[in-house]
């Protein structure tokens, strides 16, 4: 009896460690199962059902893959908006990742006003999320009563007026603003990434840099041989974040991502829960494929400082 108990309750050092690992991860797993995994399964079930609102709840009847069929072959807009979104993401992700790494490396240098500069580059994240941005887009910046170009108006009126007030001619202002629009959307989407890179840069041990300087490495060498490998898990993190962020960008009716708007509208306004869930699942299958591609291409190049 004692021996058997011992077999059960005495663990090797290895076992104890893996138990410690489980204990550390347990709280998160519990929350994950209850508030993520279960709803996710439920949403898949919705997608193969016809869900209707009824008194005091909803009724659902099994329809197989009808929702998916309709979406891919009959819905006039869905497939097209999938395509445009994918193209947008394809060219935005590399630019945003490289831009934010560049800015982060600069902001990691020592210069006066560094904290202030960091704050400035992080501002968009603070402003551009939540109700504040909805308010800005919807109320303050729709003074011109044109709702179609709310965001561009939001971004540009300020600057245009600023330049006109400074006496710059109209042609130059227009040319300038169209160029600037692109920089705008770029910088505005890079706040989180810059911060993540910055934090990553700061965890690189300075002894590595000191050693390489002693060996006479130039700043250029140091970047490619030390900074880049050491920060490569962050690059992965940022690519994944940017990919998902651009794919699932929130927006108002006319801005942001058309697919996300369609999913939201179908589910929360038209109350077609089943169809909305099916749309979401197809969309996330697409994002999943993109992620898998990213892993396949750059996953192996990531340097992990562990065995």
């Amino acid at each position: 009896m004692k021996a058997r108990l011992g077999k059960w309750f005495k663990f090797s050092l290895e076992d104890r460690r893996s138990w410690a690992g489980y204990v550390f991860i347990l709280p998160w797993i519990l929350g994950f199962l209850a508030f993520f995994a279960r709803p996710l399964v439920q949403s898949f079930l919705f997608s193969i059902q016809d869900v209707k609102m009824a008194d005091g709840g909803f009724t659902a009847s099994f329809v197989g893959f009808d929702n998916y069929n309709y979406m891919l072959f009959k819905d006039p807009t869905f497939v097209r908006s999938l395509y445009t979104t994918a193209v947008d993401v394809l060219y935005e992700v590399p630019i945003i990742t490289m831009f934010s790494l560049f800015i982060a490396v600069i902001l990691n240098q020592k210069f006066r006003g560094r904290t202030f500069m960091r704050a400035v580059f992080f501002l968009p994240v603070i402003i551009a999320s939540g109700v504040v941005i909805v308010l800005l887009k919807g109320q303050v910046f729709s003074n011109s009563f044109s709702t179609a170009s709310n965001v561009y108006l939001f971004k540009m009126t300020g600057l245009q007026d600023l330049l006109r007030e400074a006496g710059v001619s109209n042609g130059i202002v227009n040319y300038f603003t169209s160029t600037v629009n692109r920089i705008f959307s770029l910088t505005w989407k890079s706040g989180v990434q810059i911060l993540l890179f910055l934090a990553g840069l700061q965890t690189i041990s300075s002894s590595l840099y000191e050693a390489s300087k002693m060996e006479g490495a130039s700043g250029w060498d140091t970047f490619w041989k030390i900074t880049l490998p050491m920060i490569s898990p962050m690059i992965m993190l940022n690519i994944v974040y940017t990919l998902i962020d651009t794919f699932t960008e929130y927006g108002t009716e006319n801005t942001g991502n058309t697919v996300m708007n369609a999913i939201y509208r179908t589910g929360f306004i038209d109350l077609l829960f089943g169809y909305s869930a099916a749309m979401a699942w197809i969309y996330f299958a697409l994002i999943g494929a993109a992620l898998a591609l990213v892993y396949f291409i750059i996953g192996r190049k990531i340097f992990y400082a562990v065995d």
Partner: protein, 299 residues
């Protein structure tokens, strides 16, 4: 003894001085970089400036067409209007404020601990299935609230948590981005030898986490703190909370802005007030990030 110490200190002084000289850039290069930063930062800051400016615009300037950027006669009318609007509300302003601060504070603290622990386990423990868990986490980031929103509501109402703070806090704790973020940091910032050394010194796993891992990855969890606080701070809670007494601060903004253009000024005054806490949190955490790196064992 004395001489060797002196020798060592001069040596380390040299070590410190030497690279800095080598790496210092020319003034011209610095100027170019700074100019580039300055241009980018103008783009970044402009909307904030616009919000601030708008909050001080008198009513006749708010309705100018085309809208003007700068305010010519700044006024505090909008803030006075905001104050009046919030005083006439059924639930006092302080109650909304308390709800927001409570939810953001408690939620952020819990999420940082939960996510960091899970990330530590994923990064440094080889328990059965640890690779699978990591895969699950990465894929889970994919799914935004649109997908799980409705089923999540059903679960929360079954658990009887509608109209409680739990309804707002718990779903966020299940988020996987924070775990992914922390894991990516811990995996390279903390050498496995360091953990082994702590074990040799008799530290328990629990103690290793709190006394070795967390101090070193302080920049990481301070960053996560900013994100998580931001997420909670923007929560209105309207999906799960119908009791007006338990709603969060952004509901005020919604209420005021739902009145349309007439309250654009008061709206941007509220927006301005709402933006202050995240900015303060950002500044505090960023400045302590610098301090940590100066003192941590790795530097």
């Amino acid at each position: 003894m004395e001489t060797s110490r002196a020798l060592r200190s001069t040596l380390s002084l040299k070590l410190r001085l030497l690279p800095r000289k080598k790496l210092s850039r020319s003034r011209k290069e610095n100027a170019v970089i700074f100019l580039f930063l300055a241009i980018c930062s103008v783009f970044m800051a402009l909307p904030l400036v616009y919000t601030i400016v708008t909050a001080f615009k008198p009513i006749n300037e708010l309705f100018l067409f085309p809208p003007r950027f700068f305010v010519s006669h700044p006024t505090l009318d909008n803030f006075i209007a905001m104050n009046q609007l919030t005083q006439n509300m059924w639930v006092p302003f302080s109650r909304y404020l308390f709800n927001s601060v409570f939810v953001a504070g408690v939620g952020t603290a819990f999420y940082i601990v939960i996510a960091s622990m899970a990330a530590f386990a994923l990064a440094k423990y080889k328990f059965p299935g640890h690779a699978l868990y990591f895969q699950i986490i990465v894929w889970a980031i994919l799914f935004r609230p649109e997908v799980t929103g409705i089923p999540q509501y059903i679960i929360i109402s079954k658990l009887g948590m509608v109209n409680t703070y739990f309804a707002v806090i718990l779903p966020v704790l299940a988020g996987s981005f924070g775990v992914f973020l922390m894991r990516q940091f811990i995996i390279n910032a903390i050498p496995t030898e360091m953990i082994e050394a702590a074990r040799m010194d008799g530290a328990t796993e629990y103690r290793i986490f709190w006394a070795v891992v967390m101090p070193i990855v302080k920049p990481a969890w301070l960053t996560l703190l900013i994100f998580t606080f931001q997420q909670f701070w923007n929560t209105t809670g309207v999906q799960y909370i119908y009791n007006e007494n338990l709603k969060m601060l952004p509901t005020i903004l919604q209420q005021i802005s739902s009145a349309g253009l007439a309250r654009a000024g008061a709206g941007s005054a509220v927006a301005l007030v709402l933006m202050i806490p995240p900015i303060v949190i950002f500044l505090i955490s960023q400045s302590s990030v610098m301090q940590t790196m100066a003192h941590s064992g790795l530097k």
